[in-house]
């Protein structure tokens, strides 16, 4: 293959990663923005979404598309419910104290991981894609499902943007993020906003996972990479800035795809980490974050 088409392929692969990363990272970013909680267990919500999608694919009879559709709705809801429970049982009791919640979510990470190991086992298992279609370009063929992943992630992110920018729920979340005490003085139930935001953040990770398992198998340790990359994206984009998160996800996702294709996946990770270090030194508020 010539260089041009090869680069195109690399960019397209990178876009799939970027789409999934944008979903996962926007969940992390949202939780950090509103609750000021760094959720170290965020990658485990991603993993749970993938593992739950595998269970759904086993239980739901009929064509893979049906199981996939069920998983796309049920898994994020399940993970959101678990997250709301974790919020009640853990974060709220710690009064959302920044340091304490980091330690607590590290604990949550191991609990969820071990629970998945016990219930699901150590194997990596594939989940069938909902449909088999090939996109035939002049130079190479490409999985139609991957194109679907990009489109679906884009649709979810557009929905998220509408929710935050245009709906009352979003207004309440933004007001809480800006000043929780004054929000309370205007009748906003901050506990509910926090529980809902934490659940929404987890659900975004779960949606990303359901989209990716037909490409990348479900495994109980799969939460590590999305967590690391999400942190990188959130730091580069600016903590709590959704726009920054999306731009950074695109940047990191696509460059990860391109560098992994032409060189090595490890080099891509090294460069991304280096970029984080540079951003932290020269622009600690991130590319789009407001100066603290």
């Amino acid at each position: 293959m010539d260089f041009g088409p090869f680069l195109l392929l690399a960019v397209m692969e990178g876009l799939v990663g970027a789409a999934v990363l944008a979903l996962t990272a926007s969940g992390l970013s949202l939780v950090f923005g509103v609750l000021r909680v760094v959720n170290v267990a965020h990658g485990e919500f991603f993993m749970l979404g993938a593992v739950a999608a595998w269970f759904v694919s086993q239980w739901v009879p009929g064509p893979p598309a049906l199981a996939f559709a069920v998983a796309l709705v049920a898994c994020p809801l399940l993970v959101a419910g678990l997250a709301a429970l974790a919020d009640r049982l853990v974060l709220k009791r710690l009064a959302y104290e920044p340091e304490a919640t980091i330690i607590a979510t590290i604990g949550l990470l191991y609990i969820l991981q071990q629970a998945a190991l016990t219930l699901y086992g150590p194997e990596a298992r594939p989940v069938p894609p909902p449909f088999e279609a090939r996109l035939q370009l002049p130079w190479f063929g490409w999985s139609g499902y991957k194109l679907f992943v990009i489109g679906a992630a884009g649709a979810v992110l557009a929905g998220l943007w509408l929710l935050l920018a245009r709906s009352r729920i979003g207004l309440v979340m933004r007001a809480t993020q800006i000043d929780r005490e004054t929000a309370t003085a205007f009748g906003i139930d901050v506990d509910r906003v926090y529980a809902g935001t934490f659940a929404l953040g987890a659900a975004l990770a779960a949606i990303a996972a359901v989209l990716i398992v037909p490409i990348q198998q479900a495994h109980y340790l799969m939460g590590g990479d999305p967590l690391l990359l999400s942190f990188i994206v959130v730091v580069i984009g600016g903590l709590g800035s959704l726009r920054g998160t999306l731009v950074a996800a695109l940047l990191i996702g696509v460059s990860d795809g391109v560098i992994s294709t032409f060189f090595e996946p490890t080099l891509a990770k090294i460069l991304a980490t280096l970029l984080v270090a540079l951003v932290l030194v020269f622009r600690p508020q991130g590319l789009f974050g407001a100066r603290a």
Binding site: L171, R174, A175, I178, D179, E181, A185, F186, G187, D189
Partner: protein, 231 residues
């Protein structure tokens, strides 16, 4: 309307209010005066459920406020204009008002009335609150509180740092609200403003109300001002 009886409240282990008793009546302006740090702001925050009340009673029309979930308190009809305004700076003027309207499910009629009161806000509905001038920000802080059609309005030094025309507008607004039967609690440090507006004046000293007088009993040279406010 509102009564506080023997209220103790504070921040963590720091007790600020010590057996504070206070009353505000419908259709009256009750001014609260006292030195810096006397506990005026903390009293309003105790009413709003923002500081821990460790003993005493707070009643609004007979309903207990202490121990209520803090977000329920404004829903009973208490509007708070906090010291320093505390607007949602990155949100637009319209969004700030919307938050106020949501508190008690008020709609466009209420919003219209508030915008008639402060026409300057109407011209700036899509502007971020943080980009308003100081006076406009104070209008918005008051407008936001009026959006919940309060029966009790708590104003914490609303004229701090404003120019005379703006102060006059705010005073007019307070008078109008009193005329509508709202109970107004106004923390205010300037004697002439207090004498102009107040029906009653409560003097706060080290976390309690040391004295409450009808405003008619006070003159600009009254010794109480020197004693409790230090002017």
């Amino acid at each position: 309307m509102l009564t506080l009886e023997g209220v103790d409240a504070g921040y963590g282990r720091v007790q600020v209010l010590r057996g504070l008793s206070f009353e505000a009546r419908a259709g009256e302006v009750t001014c609260v005066m006292g030195r810096n740090g006397a506990g005026k702001t903390t009293m309003l925050r105790a009413i709003m459920g923002q500081v821990a009340v460790t003993s005493g009673r707070i009643r609004l029309d007979g309903a207990a406020l202490e121990g209520l979930a803090p977000h329920r308190i404004p829903q009973l009809g208490i509007g708070h204009v906090p010291q320093g305004r505390r607007l949602f700076g990155p949100l637009t003027v319209a969004e700030n008002l919307e938050i106020g309207l949501m508190t008690r499910g008020r709609g466009s009629r209420t919003r219209e009335r508030v915008l008639e009161l402060f026409p300057r806000l109407r011209e700036r509905l899509d502007q971020a609150a943080s980009t308003l001038s100081g006076g406009e920000q104070q209008m918005l802080a008051i407008g936001r509180a009026l959006c919940l059609e309060p029966k009790l309005l708590l104003l914490d030094e609303p004229t701090e740092g404003l120019q005379p025309s703006m102060i006059a507008l705010i005073r007019d607004t307070v008078r109008r609200l009193r005329g509508m039967g709202v109970a107004v609690v106004l923390v205010e440090q300037r004697i002439e403003a207090v004498l102009d507006l107040a029906d009653r004046v409560a003097f706060v000293e080290t976390g309690r109300v040391a004295l409450t007088l009808p405003a008619a009993d006070l003159s600009p040279a009254a010794p109480q001002f020197a004693r409790y406010v230090g002017v």
